[in-house]
């Protein structure tokens, strides 16, 4: 059940990412995605399998759901929000987007726990949210760095 729900959600997320207007160039999106994925694989491994703060399911469908969540949802959402932030003209819009980002991740984590994808052991949703907000900050600053560094290449959309 968990795998089916998250497959459907991933389809919706990728569709949103591909179809909604974007100010991110292809190379920028890829750069952010790969770096966030690298960081996230390490973070999930360290918190889950080294520190034992998160217990993963030993059932294959639930484990595949965890892989999908780790590999697609967590790196992609901060990139989407980074893109949408560049469309915001007012501070209130940005603030709502930041809050929405937290709510989206809190719900996703809650579903993961409810659907027995993983369980927390000395860890909670707020700890995860701190990490995800850090990812958002990393995405924003990495994008600035990438644009500054490769500005002379005139990367087209």
């Amino acid at each position: 059940m968990a795998l089916a729900i998250f497959m459907l959600l991933s389809w919706a997320l990728v569709s949103l990412f591909l179809l909604l207007p974007s100010k991110l160039k292809r190379r920028e999106s890829v750069f952010l995605f790969l770096v966030l994925l690298d960081i996230n694989i390490s973070v999930f491994w360290i918190t889950g399998l080294e520190m034992k703060k998160i217990t993963l399911s030993e059932q294959v469908p639930e484990y595949l759901t965890y892989l999908l969540y780790r590999t697609l949802f967590v790196p992609l959402l901060p990139i989407m929000v980074t893109n949408w932030l560049s469309f915001c003209r007012f501070l209130l819009q940005k603030l709502l987007l930041w809050i929405g980002f937290g709510i989206a991740f809190a719900l996703l984590e809650k579903w993961c726990v409810t659907l027995k994808v993983f369980s927390f052991n000395g860890w909670n949703v707020f700890d995860s949210l701190v990490i995800y907000y850090l990812y958002l900050l990393i995405a924003i600053y990495l994008l600035k760095w990438f644009r500054r560094t490769f500005a002379e290449e005139g990367i087209r959309p």
Partner: protein
């Protein structure tokens, strides 16, 4: 044992300590052929693909092999991804240098998968990689064929614009 700590500094650590500077020396000594952003993205691509495979097939529920001395995440695991990173640049560099036609791309991929297996054999000898739970080189070969095909697609996709033009 704390996270990132090295159990003992032996042949696998020495292999990576010598191997990493060597591959970057080759990378930086090659004449520039691709834009810097593409070079960076190709290196991050190989870094990510190898890390993804290691943390998906080499650990967790599947656990088909260990990297370095133990299943734990140690500093030299991270170093090993820096070792793999320039290889996708070399792969595309020669692909461009030889102007491989689409019809010959599968042969090129198979040839590089053979090279990758030879390097993996070296990694096995130096205990950078240790197989377990029935894993063998054929599984790696399949992974290389797929990942290298994806690398060519990724490179072509990066060069295209959203409207289909080539940048």
């Amino acid at each position: 044992m704390s996270i990132f700590a090295i159990d003992r500094f032996d042949e696998n650590e020495w292999f990576l300590t010598i191997g990493v500077p060597l591959v970057y020396l080759i990378l930086f000594s090659l004449p520039k052929k691709l834009p810097s952003s593409i070079t960076l993205l190709l290196c991050i691509w190989a870094f990510t693909v190898s890390k993804f495979c290691d943390f998906t097939f080499g650990g967790g529920l599947f656990d088909y092999y260990d990297i370095n001395d133990s299943p734990r995440y140690c500093l030299y695991d991270l170093v090993s991804y820096f070792f793999y990173a320039p290889f996708s640049y070399f792969f595309i560099y020669i692909y461009e240098q030889w102007r491989i036609k689409p019809l010959w791309a599968p042969v090129y991929i198979l040839g590089w998968s053979g090279i990758a297996l030879a390097i993996e054999r070296l990694l096995l000898v130096f205990h950078v990689v240790t197989y377990k739970n029935g894993y063998n080189m054929f599984f790696s070969f399949v992974i290389y064929v797929f990942s290298q095909s994806l690398t060519i697609w990724f490179y072509k996709w990066l060069l295209q614009t959203k409207t289909g033009r080539s940048s």
